[in-house]
């Protein structure tokens, strides 16, 4: 009995050690970026200092004032909010349709799954032409349009919707609810994890999007943060501290959102993995 308990303790300890080592490897680059943003220490300095020497916040202030950072931030926020709203609504509609039985459902799912394998770069020319025809170039709508619906998020919703008991939907229908009302009043409130996953994923994808804004934006004041970062790099080469501060300022909202929604996010992804 004691031998068994000792073995279990050792297993737990080694597991935690392994997790600590992995966490260390994952967090070290973040720490290094943060440290450099506070000290401006050149990355080629040898030996590197592990602890920040004379840290200060002035590189963050430089970033805020030397480029139109507040404007880039506003652009990124508007585009991300549009993308999140569209993803939450459109993906729910698509996923609900896929939980219903209709002719060709299997084919639709197969086509959607196949489309996941096509990288966005290959469809960028038709996407640009469509956006131009719609007159959305150089606009928030044009920036957000390709991220309005993502197949992965549709399947996250679908897995969550399929877990809702059939009898509940039938009862709602008998009570006179339309299909849209069923989605809004039954499906979405019972799928908060899927909603959170949709929010986090669509936010991160639209927030980090670089290629599409690069192509669709002409006006410098319509640029988003990733474009601003590349513009910032082109200004001056010797800006290590300010550059890393910029990276932190771009990363911070995404990390904050993930930390707030991590429980729902992970639950949403794992429910998709087991029931999909």
């Amino acid at each position: 009995m004691i031998k068994k308990r000792t073995r279990r303790t050792w297993t737990h300890a080694s597991l935690h050690l392994a997790m600590l080592a992995v966490s260390f490897c994952m967090l070290l680059p973040f720490y290094w970026v943060l440290k450099t943003s506070l000290t401006g220490e050149n990355i080629f300095v040898y030996p590197p200092s592990i602890v920040p020497v004379h840290p200060h916040l002035f590189y963050y202030i430089d970033v805020w004032y030397y480029i139109p950072f507040p404007r880039y931030l506003l652009n990124s926020v508007v585009v991300s909010v549009l993308s999140i709203a569209a993803n939450v609504v459109f993906n729910a509609l698509a996923a609900y349709a896929l939980t219903r039985h209709f002719r060709g459902r299997g084919a639709v799912i197969t086509v959607l799954l196949s489309c996941m394998m096509i990288p966005f770069q290959t469809t960028i020319v038709p996407a640009y032409l469509i956006t131009a025809k719609l007159g959305f170039l150089d606009s928030y709508l044009g920036l957000a349009l390709p991220t309005f619906s993502t197949i992965v998020c549709i399947f996250v919703y679908k897995a969550s919707f399929e877990a809702v008991p059939r009898s509940l939907i039938d009862a709602a229908r008998i009570d006179g609810l339309s299909e849209l009302q069923i989605i809004r009043r039954i499906m979405l409130p019972l799928s908060t994890s899927a909603v959170a996953t949709n929010i986090v994923l669509s936010f991160i994808w639209s927030w980090n999007n670089f290629l599409w804004p690069l192509i669709v934006v002409r006006d410098p004041l319509m640029q988003t943060l990733p474009l601003g970062l590349s513009r910032f790099l082109s200004y001056h080469e010797n800006t290590t501290g300010a550059l890393y501060a910029f990276c932190i300022m771009v990363l911070a909202p995404g990390i904050l959102l993930f930390l707030m929604a991590q429980k729902e996010f992970i639950r949403g992804l794992t429910s998709g993995a087991t029931k999909g």
């Binding site: 200060h56 916040l57 002035f58 202030i61 430089d62 004032y65 030397y66 200004y235 001056h236 800006t239 904050l256 707030m260 929604a261």
Partner: protein
Amino acid sequence: MHAKFLRILRHRFVAVPLLIGIAVIGWNAYVATHNGGTVRGVVLGPDGRPLAGATVTMMEQNFTTNSDRGKTMTRADGAFEFTDNRSHNIQLRAEKPGVGRSDLVVVRLYFRAQDVTLREPLRVAKHAG
């Protein structure tokens, strides 16, 4: 009703943005009341005593350039004051013909036009900087 309101308020999706909002409003209120663009300081001569009649030059520092933003003279007590700073990153230098000049002092501010009084005086020396 009260308990429900408190529960909503304590939810992390409400509490975190609310706290960030309060911090942003507080910071902007502080900035609005401290952005007069005043830069004050003292110039000391080679003997360590306040230097009257020295010219203090203020330069605005950008990524690659330093542009002249104004000059002022020190008073009898060695004190000087600029009232029109619009930058967050300035450099100061004091100079008096026949006495010498000081090193270029970089003054970093937390926001544009922040009112500031230099902690260290500008020290004029014969062969400085």
